[in-house]
């Protein structure tokens, strides 16, 4: 159900692009995801009492270059959910603030191209006391997540491929009920959230002017349980999803530092999650805080080309 959140955060903390020192890139993103079919455990079904569940997200994001090799990132979305059928009420609110440190320790010639290695650490935590236990209409799962990511990028000419693997440690959450059933009864309001992993491959064309790439993403919950027949989803379900998407980033020539991004994805396989299709778009702008006026600043300038 929460795939779109994963997709959104995928924009800057999963690409092999660094902000130049003292540059700050910030922007707004919009993401709309919809699903009618979902996986109840491994069984694919629809639900006439939900119809199509849609999630709209508006996010503010930013990326600051502490140095050419070290970036700090943040993002915070406002999320809104709705079901087209049945009587259930949609929810909305500010969701989780995520902060990332992105580090590019290695960049070296390798064969015909350039090989870069990245290490990222991220934390995200809820900014409000939003409701987690009203799936599929909750706006998030309300856990505090710690992500550790390794990423490798290889570029030959203007063609590149990036692979990353992430381990996500998730905190327990508290729900409004003081007892709940998973595969057994729990007499507490605390829910143990299984950790998760995320593997992503992206490949495509990358120049100083634009990026066009295809993305395959897999999110796997390391534990958790399946929704039983005709039951409601629960935050500690085993939510898995494999998605395929495209992403395009274009730097506007006329305005230095201004970029537009857009993309979309579909869900190829899943478990305890909606088969969401999503589209997104955004606008980003780079502010240059470096003392020396740098005329060459461009968004999404691949490190390799510097």
């Amino acid at each position: 159900m929460l795939l779109s959140f994963i997709q959104l955060s995928a924009q800057t903390d999963m690409d092999a692009i660094m902000m130049t020192k003292n540059n700050f890139c910030t922007g707004l993103m919009y993401n709309s995801s919809n699903w009618t079919d979902y996986w109840e455990g491994t069984l694919k079904r629809n639900n006439e009492n939900l119809g199509t569940v849609s999630t709209k997200m508006y996010a503010v994001m930013g990326n600051y270059g502490v140095s050419d090799k070290l970036n700090l990132l943040f993002g915070i979305p406002y999320v809104q959910t709705r079901a087209s059928a049945g009587t259930l009420h949609g929810l909305n609110g500010m969701q989780d603030l995520s902060l990332w440190v992105k580090w590019n320790p290695i960049e070296t010639k390798f064969g015909k191209g350039t090989l870069s290695v990245y290490g990222l650490g991220g934390i995200s935590f809820p900014t409000t006391n939003y409701v987690a236990d009203f799936l599929p209409l909750s706006i998030g799962l309300h856990s505090t997540n710690l992500s550790l990511r390794g990423m490798v990028d290889y570029q030959v000419g203007k063609w590149f491929a990036t692979a990353s693997g992430t381990y996500v440690v998730r905190s327990n959450i508290k729900i409004d009920r003081n007892s709940y059933y998973t595969t057994e009864q729990h007499i507490t309001n605390e829910v143990s959230m299984p950790d998760a992993s995320n593997v992503q491959l992206r490949t495509g064309y990358r120049s100083g002017r634009m990026i066009a790439e295809a993305i395959i993403n897999n999110w796997t919950t390391l534990g958790g349980f399946d929704i039983t027949r005709n039951n409601m989803p629960f935050p500690s379900n085993k939510m898995n999803a494999t998605t395929a998407g495209i992403n395009i980033k274009y730097n506007i020539q006329a305005v230095d530092g201004l970029a537009l991004i857009g993309g979309g994805s579909i869900t190829l396989a899943g478990r305890n999650i909606g088969q969401a299709g999503s589209i997104n778009g955004g606008v980003f702008y780079i502010l240059d805080f470096s003392h020396k006026a740098k005329k060459t600043t461009q968004l999404a300038q691949p490190v390799k080309e510097k």
Binding site: L70, A85, V131, S179, Y181
Partner: protein, 516 residues
């Protein structure tokens, strides 16, 4: 500078990661409790008024062999052997069951209700299949432990446990066999030592009566329950509280009591509560004939009403005529200004939901996949009883009073619902979107309110110092249904008072059952 920054960051990350991963395990509020330590043995409980048994001696329990016989000495030797090789895991099981058999079986019951509280999915033609007691493993699993089903199940189990323990206490006093650790000093009392005679074993009575009742109520769980029975019985032997003979006599007595109550349950008309299409049409027509708008299912596809004839089930605390007498006056007419006003009030609640109201809605929702509202009140009762140092028989008596009130509340409530067949707010105004699942039955009167009114009343009698708190909880549970957008104010207010009336029958029984 950059290095300091980076290393600080790494340290922070490691600290947070360590905290997140260490706190993974959640423990329940009743996982680790001290051993039950009754403030009194209630040695005369054999004289307390039974519910379904004619009296404590309806089923006889043979006199135990003398403690000096080789047969009994062999039983003591079994305990010694078990205690010699006890494992950590066995010690944990002893502690688990030692906190109280009535408590643990009640928790297990709640777990089963939650597991089975799932509405069947429709077949390809849009028709909903009904669970079959004859084939509990086929989809849809039997039972669909919805609120009325659950209320009845909790009540029969609790009343059966109570009756069986009253009988057990009668024979305990009669035969007066001391606990193994009193007869043989080499046997350790791993739980609280007591002067209560050990024959027949109260743990085994509970295990036997519950396991036997479960054959009727949760036939798909017989194997699971049998495993729990064996676990409870073995721990009571390992704890030095009972010998094999105490346990065998206890289980046999429990099963006999359950068989009698099962026969009562089989003829209480719950089996026919699902009704027929003709019954469903009749309920609707009776209302439309009066010029009122009748309830229609808001499920897609439309689902037949949930156990519409449950109002005809034979109650525990009064007779069927009383069910009808307790039926409240009609709700506001569906064409009245009053209902229009009440519908507008609910629309306003759901249009401006506050986080606190949503918390209240979800705290009390007890919908699909939960132990249902009667289970919630069982949880409230159990967690308070833990603090009261009741004997097992008093635990059972109090749980029986609460659960008989809840079952009869379900009966009166379902009778009312299907007599007036009043639509939900969302049926009157589809703009009303709900903050919890909309139940598939009529609005008037609110089930949560009726359950809560009944449970809060009897609990307030049992634990007077908490009476005000129980009433406040009942009111919050009742209001939660308005905040959630699924009930009008009339449903909730009349539900509460009707529940309180049902509760007064439980109080009347409590005053005269010999326990107070």
């Amino acid at each position: 500078m950059k290095k300091i920054f980076l290393s600080t960051l790494i340290i922070i990350v490691v600290i947070i990661a360590a905290q997140l991963s260490c706190s993974k395990v959640t423990s329940g509020r009743t996982d680790y409790l001290p051993a039950l330590n009754p403030s009194k043995t209630d040695i005369d409980a054999g004289s307390w008024k039974t519910v379904f048994l004619t009296g404590p001696t309806e089923f006889s329990v043979a006199a135990p062999v003398a403690v000096t016989t080789p047969a009994y000495i062999a039983e003591l030797n079994e305990i010694k052997a078990l205690q010699k090789n006890i494992t950590k895991e066995q010690e944990e099981k002893i502690a688990y069951w030692g906190a109280g058999g009535v408590l643990r079986w009640n928790e297990l019951m709640r777990e089963l209700v939650a597991k089975y509280n799932l509405p069947p999915y429709q077949k390809a033609d849009g028709v909903y299949p009904a669970p079959s007691a004859a084939n509990p493993f086929a989809y849809p699993l039997f039972p669909f432990a919805n609120p009325p089903y659950a209320a009845r199940a909790y009540a029969y189990i609790s009343a059966a446990q109570y009756d069986a323990l009253v009988a057990a206490w009668h024979y305990k006093k009669l035969y007066n066999r001391a606990a193994p650790y009193k007869t043989d000093v080499a046997i350790q009392a791993k739980l609280q030592p007591t002067d209560l005679p050990s024959y027949p074993s109260e743990s085994a009575v509970l295990a036997g009566v519950t396991a036997e009742m479960m054959k009727l109520l949760f036939p798909g769980e017989i194997a699971y329950i049998q495993q729990k029975l064996e676990e409870q019985e073995l721990t009571s032997i390992m704890a030095g509280a009972n010998t094999r003979g105490d346990v065998e006599a206890g289980e046999a007595l429990g099963r006999l009591v359950a068989q009698k109550i099962t026969a009562r349950a089989r003829t209480d008309k719950a089996g026919a509560a699902i009704g027929t299409p003709a019954d469903w049409a009749q309920i609707e027509n009776a209302v439309t004939a009066k010029g009122e708008i009748a309830w229609i299912s808001l499920d897609n596809p439309k689902r037949p009403p949930m156990l519409p004839l449950f109002g005809k089930v034979k109650p525990c605390l009064f007779d069927e005529a009383t069910t009808v007498a307790l039926r409240p006056l009609p709700p506001p007419s569906t064409t009245s200004e009053q209902l229009k006003k009440e519908t507008a009030e609910i629309l306003d609640f759901v249009t401006h939901p506050t986080r606190e109201r949503i918390r209240i809605v979800h705290f009390w929702a007890d919908g699909v996949g939960t132990y249902a509202p009667p289970g919630h009140w069982n949880a409230i009762a159990a967690e308070d009883f833990i603090t009261k140092n009741f004997s097992e028989v008093r635990w059972a008596r109090n749980m029986a009073l609460v659960n008989m009130a809840l079952m009869d509340a379900a009966i009166v409530c379902w009778d009312t619902k299907n007599f007036y067949s009043n639509p939900r707010p969302t049926q009157m105004n589809p703009a009303i979107k709900t903050l919890t699942g909309i139940p598939n039955f009529q609005a008037y009167i609110s089930g949560h309110s009726t359950f809560s009114g009944a449970a809060a009343s009897i609990l307030g009698y049992i634990i007077p110092e908490r009476a005000t708190a129980y009433q406040a909880m009942a009111l919050e549970a009742s209001l939660s249904r308005m905040y959630g957008g699924i009930h009008y104010r009339s449903d909730c207010e009349v539900g509460l008072t009707t529940g309180q009336k049902v509760g007064s029958y439980a109080i009347a029984r409590a005053k005269t059952d010999g326990a107070d």
